[in-house]
Symmetry: C2
Subunit: 181 residues, 2 copies
């Protein structure tokens, strides 16, 4: 249960992830229904405002707000184009950063298909070899890795949050009851 925490990470009473955790930042950007579904639609190839509104199923104001956030965060970019003889149009295109979110969206798809009562009439395959596509946790050596086989290590001597220096009388460092893992 849980991954293996080594060294300074072992004692959970000495550190917290608040502040530096990439998951937090990521969730602030795409951690909402509209934002995530806009990204889903972007992966399906949707580029136009009204299509996002219709296909995600939100009000224009909501779509506009989230699209602005996603553009500001660099996941989408607004691109003006004009076909000959047609009026000027705008489209929202996936950037490299946006495309990098594919594992997350596909991971949610995979999880939802397995663990919720959804039976999607759609499936994803590798264009080259026709095999089903999914996400996997693995190491750089190519091994499939389960949660129990992950070791978390610290680069720094301490992951402690920046706190006022304990020079003067220490303000009673909360005694953690039986916190030793």
């Amino acid at each position: 249960m849980g991954m293996t925490l080594t060294g300074a990470l072992e004692d959970r009473s000495t550190w917290s992830a608040t502040g530096w955790c990439p998951v937090e930042k990521a969730v602030e950007i795409i951690g909402s229904r509209p934002a995530m579904l806009i990204m889903r639609e972007a992966f399906y190839g949707t580029t136009r405002f009204d299509d996002f509104v219709e296909r995600v199923g939100v009000a224009p104001a909501t779509a506009a707000s989230h699209l602005r956030t996603l553009v500001a965060a660099g996941l989408l970019e607004r691109h003006v184009y004009q076909e000959p003889g047609a009026r000027r149009r705008e489209e929202y295109r996936l950037t490299d950063a946006g495309t990098d979110l594919l594992p997350v969206v596909l991971g949610l798809f995979q999880w939802g298909r397995k663990h919720t009562s959804t039976n999607p009439p759609i499936s994803f395959t590798h264009t080259g070899c026709d095999e089903p596509v999914g996400v996997a946790v693995q190491c750089d050596a190519g091994h499939r890795v389960g949660l129990a086989e992950i070791t978390a290590t610290t680069v720094l001597p301490s992951v402690r949050e920046p706190v006022p220096p304990p020079e003067h009388s220490a303000p009673a460092p909360r005694p953690r009851p039986a916190s030793a893992g």
Copy 2:
């Protein structure tokens, strides 16, 4: 840009993902800051209520509410235990369904580290071989797959949503600007 849509999926004006999409269901459960961070903490090994409250940084009511949702959705389970000579305790443990969310959480971590200004002093390696651990999109044959190499296919003849039959005058099928994939 976008994946390849084949057959009945090609014409985006004839279908929408609303209703059956696993991503939607998944997002309803874990698509919020508190829920996602509770899961992050669960992966780090947190099991007790007060620790979730403190480490996620939310009010008890918020934590209780989301924990209840996560238990109801089957990602965590409440487990009562009693060490000899100690009072009865409860803990929230990851279920198999909860553990299956690892690719998503790790995917968010990976994305956030690369695309937001977070420099986490922590890294994850494969316990066996010490190589860095990450998530990857790949097919069952083991090929790494990019967005452009994914083909979406339909199992059913049509993914069309139940709509009122377009018997009367059709409302001018919008000209799609360069939508052909």
